[in-house]
Subunit: 96 residues, 2 copies
């Protein structure tokens, strides 16, 4: 099933409702940087997101070093942002 | 306790014994790129490394997207590579 790419208007409306997320320069992804108290908390967070991602079959691109996690969300099948990214961002916001 | 940075000779000897690891251009870190069959395997691997890292109190810098994991090992306290990185690389090699 094809996943629809958000229109610019849909994208902007979704971003307005998300906190802490930044549109990447090319407009095709959103990013958020998080800082935890230590690696235990950072990887604990990543594990919660990983379980959710696997269930949703939609996975983040992410970088971790010690207590920092940098996340990029995009939908390759849609060639940009889709509602899947918005849903994942909302899940992430709900657990940090 | 200060962690000793490897001499160039120690570093080269350690790298000779590791497979799949590349010395970063600045000589201060080693990197390895891994590809798994899917996210489940990639994150399962990351979880094994995370548990080991927490126990060893030595953590990787890493990037993951779906089935790919890119790992960088360095010892900030030593300003470059230390035996801790070699030990971590050996652990990683033992579980992939």
């Amino acid at each position: 099933m094809a996943i629809a790419r958000l229109t610019d208007a849909e994208r902007d409306a979704a971003l307005d409702k998300l906190s802490g997320w930044t549109l990447r320069d090319d407009g095709l992804a959103i990013t958020r940087s998080l800082k935890f108290s230590d690696f235990n908390e950072a990887f604990g967070f990543m594990t919660r997101v990983a379980l959710h991602a696997e269930k949703a079959d939609h996975h983040p691109e992410w970088f971790n070093v010690y207590n920092k996690v940098e996340i990029t969300l995009t939908t390759h099948d849609a060639g940009g942002l889709s509602m899947r990214d918005v849903a994942m961002a909302e899940f992430i916001d709900s657990v940090v």
